[in-house]
Symmetry: C2
Subunit: 85 residues, 2 copies
């Protein structure tokens, strides 16, 4: 078994309103920053032990499907890297 960290990033699908991100963008603009757009995402860094990177990614993918992301409104990506156990 090897120690991996799987990073699951959960984003709202294009077209889904994100009032919190809009508020953050307005607030930055009020502070004088110039930005074209701002999107927010939730990131989960999950430490798992698995036989290989593919197995770790598959498990993280299943976690996203079952709990971390809502398929109606979210897209998600999974990245896997070895970690120092």
């Amino acid at each position: 078994m090897t120690a991996y960290t799987a990073t699951v990033t959960v984003r709202l699908k294009r077209g889904v309103l994100d009032p919190e991100a809009e508020t953050t963008q307005r607030q930055l603009e009020r502070l004088g920053f110039d930005l074209a757009d701002l999107r927010s995402a939730d990131q989960f860094e999950i430490d798992v032990d698995a036989t290989d990177a593919d197995a770790a990614a598959e498990r993280a993918d299943e976690m996203a499907e079952r709990l971390l992301a809502n398929p109606t409104i979210h897209d998600y990506t999974v990245e896997v890297a070895e970690r120092d156990a």
Copy 2:
């Protein structure tokens, strides 16, 4: 000016309690997943136009300092990539 996306990832400092992440971890374990640890982070993808990548990173860094991160409890990282305008 070039179009960039700056990704600011805001994490809780080591030692700061994260009850939401703990709840998520428990819930995954209750679903039968085996994981060593789970940390959550907030990610902001910010579209900015800047003269070069360094200028874009500097501006995102300032946004994190001024609004996106709370230095008492948060660490943050900034990554910059060109985007299709």
